[in-house]
C-alpha cells in the first residue's frame, strides 16, 4: 500500500495558491492516486495568510494536514514559510519563494518582519530550498505567475512525467495566459 503523502501550499491571499493546488491535484490524479485537496475560500482574496492541503496515496480520508504531518511545504512568501514550519514532518522538505510581503502589523510599525528566516529554518536542520520566484515570474512576463514558477520547481523533485504537468497546465490555466505560464513553468523547472 502506497504511503499517504502530504503537501502544503502556503502564501498570502491573491498569490494564486488555489491555481497551483489545482495543477498539482490534476497531476497526482493522472498518476493514478486517490487525491484530496482542501482549501479555505472566503477571506482568501483579502491578503490574509492562506493554506491549501494536498494529500495523495491509495486511499485518503482526512483532507487536512496538521502540525508535524507535511512531507513537503511550498511557501509563496518567506514569513509564511516560518509561520507554517511546524506543519513540516521530521525529515520533510521545504521550498520557499524569497519574496517578502509585509503584513499589516509590520506595515503599521507595531511588529518587525523577522530577519534571516531562511537561515533560521535551515539552522533547525530543515531541508529548505529558496528561490526568487517573483523575479522568474517577471522574466516570464507576469508577476502573477509566481505560483506556476513554484510548480515548475516542484516538478523536478516530485518525479511525475513532464507531460502530466503540461497537461495539467493546459487544463487549469486560462487560455489567454497559457504562454506566460508555460514559460514560468520552464523557468521554475530550470531553477
Amino acid at each position: 500500500m502506497a504511503e499517504t503523502k502530504a503537501i502544503m501550499l502556503v502564501g498570502v491571499g491573491g498569490q494564486g495558491t488555489l491555481l497551483a493546488s489545482r495543477i498539482l491535484g490534476n497531476v497526482l490524479l493522472s498518476a493514478g492516486y486517490d487525491v484530496k485537496v482542501s482549501e479555505v475560500h472566503g477571506m482568501s482574496q483579502r491578503g490574509g495568510s492562506v493554506v491549501t492541503y494536498i494529500k495523495y496515496g491509495d486511499k485518503i480520508f482526512s483532507p487536512v494536514i496538521e502540525k508535524g504531518e507535511a512531507d513537503i511545504i511550498i511557501s509563496f512568501e518567506e514569513l509564511e514559510a516560518a509561520r507554517w514550519l511546524p506543519y513540516l514532518k521530521k525529515g520533510g522538505k521545504m521550498i520557499t519563494n524569497t519574496q517578502q510581503i509585509n503584513p499589516m502589523p509590520v506595515i503599521m510599525g507595531v511588529q518587525q518582519y523577522p530577519d534571516d528566516l531562511i537561515g533560521k529554518i535551515r539552522a533547525k536542520g530543515v531541508d529548505i530550498t529558496a528561490i526568487d520566484a517573483l523575479a522568474l515570474a517577471e522574466q516570464a512576463g507576469s508577476s502573477r505567475a509566481v505560483n506556476v514558477v513554484l510548480m515548475g520547481l516542484i516538478s523536478k523533485t516530485a518525479g511525475f512525467p513532464e507531460e502530466a504537468w503540461q497537461n495539467a497546465l493546459d487544463a487549469c490555466v486560462p487560455k489567454k495566459a497559457i504562454d506566460i505560464n508555460k514559460k514560468a513553468f520552464e523557468l521554475g523547472r530550470g531553477a
Partner: protein, 576 residues
C-alpha cells in the same frame, strides 16, 4: 469519467444528474460555489439565479416544487435562520417535485459570525437531513435526497461543512435524468391554515417514524467493522478524521443521515464494541440521541463543542499520541485579512474614524473596517442588523447620538435585509444616518451579481434596484450620493447627513477594485525628496504602503492607483 471536484461542485453535478430544473440561492461562504457551478450548466435544462436573500430563494424553490419540478436552494448556516420560516412550514405541505435545501456549516468560523450547528434546524423543522463526507458522497447524497424528498413527501436538507464543501476529491460522472410531475391544485396539502395544518402535523410525526425506519437500513448509514475494542459513531468530516486517526484499530458507524437517527442500528453497533465513542463536530446531537435510547457513549465529556476536529486532535484525545514538530523562536507577525489596495470602503472608514462616530456595522468585506488601523466599527451581528440596530441605539440614547452615529451596509446586504430596517427608521422616525456602501457587487463571497448591479447570475442585463429612488419611496427625503475615493467630499457629505434633523442615507458609490470592468491607473509613487516621513499616508491602512528606509514606499505590484494616499499627503510627495 472521473475527476477532482470541490464538494460544492459535486453537489451542483448531483443536481444536474438528478434532473433539477430550478436553483435559487443567496451567496454565503462556504456554500456559494454550488450555485456558481450550477449556473455553468445549460440554463434551459437547469436554471439558476441569485435571490435577494435566503428566504426568497427558499420560497422560490418551494414554488417550483409545487409546480412539479425538482428544485433547490443553497445557503450558509446563518442563511438557514433567514430561510427557516418557509422551511418549517414546507415541512408540513411536503413537495410535488423533490425539494432539497443545502446548508453549509462553518466549523472553525473561517468566514462567519457564529458557529451554529444546522442539525438543530432539521430537528426543529422535522425534516430529513443528509450529510456527505467527501465530494463523491456530495453528488450521490444530492441525488438520493431527491428520491427521499419525493418518496416521503418532504423537503430534505443536505448539510455540508467548510471542509467538505471546499475539499476536492474524486467524483464519477453519470447522465442526467428528467423528472416532472403534473401540477394539481390541492388546498388541503398546500394551504397551511390551522384547519389544514393540524392534520398535517399528524402526518409529519408519522413521516418521522417512517424516516427513522428508513434510516435503520438505508445505505446512507454504513457500518465498517474492524476491531471490537473501539467503536466510533460519527458523521461528515469527523468520520474522515476518525478513520485516519484510528485506522483499522476501531470500528465505525458512519451516519450519512443525521436526522432522524436510527435506533436499532446504533444499539446493534454499540453492542459489538467494548468502548463506544461519538465523534461529532459542534453540538452533541448524536450523543444526546444515544443517551435517549439508553446508551452511555464517550462524547462531549472528551471532545470539544468548538471548532473543527482533525486526525491529530482525535489521536491525542483517544490514544494520547502527539505529533512532533519544529518551530522558530521568532515571533511571527499575524497576517489578518485586510481591505485590498484600492478598496472603495477605505475612504469611508478613514472618514468615520476621523469623525469619531459610533459605527453600527454589518456583514461583508467592509466588516474589515473594524480592524486596525481604521478601527471604525462598534457592532456587527448579522445581515441587516446595522440599520435596524442603529434605530434602536438612537432611540435608546434619546437622540443624543443621532449626530454622531451611523450604520454601514453594503449594496447586496442592504437588498438582503437592510431595506426593512430603513423602513423602520422612516416609519418610527429616528434621525438616523445610514451609509450604503455600493461597490456594485457582492464582494466577500467572491463577486456575485445582485439585484442592485443590473446583471443576473449569467451576466446578462437585468433590472437594477434604483437605490436612491428606493430610499425616497420608503420615506427618506435626505439621500446623497458620494464617491468615497474623494476624501474631502465624503467627509463633507457624511457631516451634513449627521447634522440633518431628519433620517438620511448616504450612498457611497464606487465599484470594487477587484472587478474586471474597473480600469486601474498606473501605480502611484513616493517622491522621497518631498516625503517628510510623517506617516499620514499610513493612516488609511493600505497594504501597498510601508515605510522603507525611513520614507513612505508604495509597492507597485499591489497599488492600483486609487490615489487615496495622495490625498492624505500634505507635502505632495505621492505622485501619479
Amino acid at each position: 469519467m472521473a475527476g477532482l471536484m470541490l464538494g460544492n461542485q459535486a453537489v451542483a453535478r448531483g443536481l444536474y444528474e438528478a434532473g433539477v430544473e430550478f436553483v435559487s440561492s443567496y451567496p454565503g461562504t462556504p456554500s456559494t460555489e454550488i450555485t456558481e457551478f450550477a449556473s455553468t450548466y445549460d440554463r434551459n435544462e437547469m436554471y439558476s439565479e441569485w435571490a435577494p436573500n435566503e428566504k426568497v430563494a427558499c420560497e422560490a424553490a418551494i414554488g417550483a416544487s409545487f409546480a412539479g419540478i425538482r428544485s433547490f436552494c443553497a445557503m450558509k448556516h446563518v442563511g438557514l435562520n433567514v430561510a427557516a420560516d418557509p422551511l418549517y412550514t414546507a415541512s408540513y405541505t411536503g413537495v410535488n417535485g423533490g425539494f432539497v435545501l443545502a446548508v453549509a456549516d462553518d466549523q472553525g468560523m473561517h468566514s462567519s459570525q457564529n458557529e451554529q450547528d444546522s442539525r438543530n434546524h432539521a430537528i426543529g423543522a422535522k425534516v430529513p437531513m443528509l450529510e456527505p463526507a467527501d465530494s463523491g458522497e456530495c453528488k450521490e447524497f444530492t441525488k438520493l435526497a431527491y428520491e427521499i424528498s419525493e418518496q416521503f413527501d418532504t423537503p430534505v436538507i443536505l448539510r455540508l461543512s467548510t471542509r467538505v464543501a471546499h475539499s476536492q476529491s474524486v467524483v464519477e460522472l453519470e447522465d442526467r435524468k428528467t423528472v416532472r410531475y403534473e401540477y394539481k391544485k390541492d388546498p388541503h396539502k398546500n394551504i397551511m391554515t390551522p384547519a389544514n395544518a393540524k392534520p398535517k402535523h399528524v402526518i409529519v410525526e408519522e413521516r418521522t417514524k417512517k424516516l427513522r425506519e428508513y434510516a435503520e437500513t438505508s445505505p446512507l448509514n454504513r457500518v465498517e467493522m474492524f476491531s471490537d475494542e473501539i467503536g466510533v459513531i460519527t458523521n461528515g468530516a469527523a468520520y474522515q478524521y476518525a478513520r485516519e486517526a484510528l485506522g483499522e484499530n476501531a470500528s465505525y458507524l458512519k451516519l450519512g443521515m443525521v436526522n432522524p437517527l436510527p435506533v436499532k442500528l446504533i444499539k446493534d453497533f454499540a453492542a459489538k464494541v467494548k468502548k463506544l465513542y461519538v465523534v461529532e463536530e459542534l453540538d452533541d446531537v448524536i450523543e444526546t440521541h444515544c443517551r435517549k435510547i439508553g446508551l452511555d457513549p464517550i462524547g462531549k465529556e472528551l471532545f470539544t463543542f468548538i471548532g473543527e476536529y482533525s486526525q491529530t486532535y482525535l489521536r491525542e484525545k483517544i490514544l494520547g499520541e502527539k505529533n512532533e514538530f519544529v518551530q522558530l523562536e521568532d515571533v511571527i507577525p499575524v497576517r489578518p485579512p485586510v481591505m485590498c489596495a484600492g478598496c472603495p470602503h477605505r475612504g469611508v472608514f478613514y472618514t468615520l474614524k476621523k469623525l469619531g462616530v459610533m459605527v453600527s456595522g454589518d456583514i461583508g468585506c467592509y466588516t474589515l473596517g473594524s480592524a486596525a488601523p481604521l478601527d471604525a466599527m462598534d457592532t456587527t451581528v448579522c445581515m441587516g442588523a446595522s440599520v435596524s440596530g442603529l434605530h434602536g441605539f438612537n432611540r435608546a440614547m434619546r437622540g443624543e447620538y443621532e449626530g454622531k452615529a451611523v450604520a454601514v451596509i453594503g449594496d447586496s446586504t442592504f437588498i438582503h435585509s437592510g431595506i426593512t430596517g430603513l423602513i423602520n427608521i422612516a416609519y418610527n422616525r429616528t434621525n438616523s444616518t445610514v451609509l450604503v456602501l455600493d461597490n456594485s457587487i457582492t464582494g466577500m463571497t467572491g463577486h456575485q451579481n445582485n439585484p442592485a448591479n443590473g446583471k443576473n447570475i449569467y451576466g446578462d442585463p437585468a433590472a437594477a434596484v434604483d437605490l436612491e429612488a428606493l430610499c425616497h419611496a420608503v420615506g427618506i427625503d435626505n439621500v446623497t450620493v458620494v464617491d468615497p475615493g474623494d476624501l474631502a467630499e465624503t467627509e463633507r457629505v457624511i457631516k451634513a447627513a449627521l447634522a440633518a434633523e431628519e433620517p438620511a442615507v448616504v450612498i457611497c458609490r464606487r465599484p470594487c477594485a477587484l472587478l474586471k470592468t474597473v480600469k486601474h491607473k498606473p501605480p502611484f509613487r513616493v517622491n522621497t525628496d518631498k516625503c517628510k516621513s510623517c506617516k499620514a499616508c499610513m493612516k488609511i491602512g493600505c497594504p501597498a504602503i510601508s515605510m522603507t528606509d525611513g520614507k513612505a514606499h508604495i509597492d507597485n505590484t499591489l497599488c492600483v492607483g486609487c490615489g487615496l494616499c495622495s490625498q492624505m499627503c500634505r507635502f505632495g510627495a505621492i505622485e501619479e
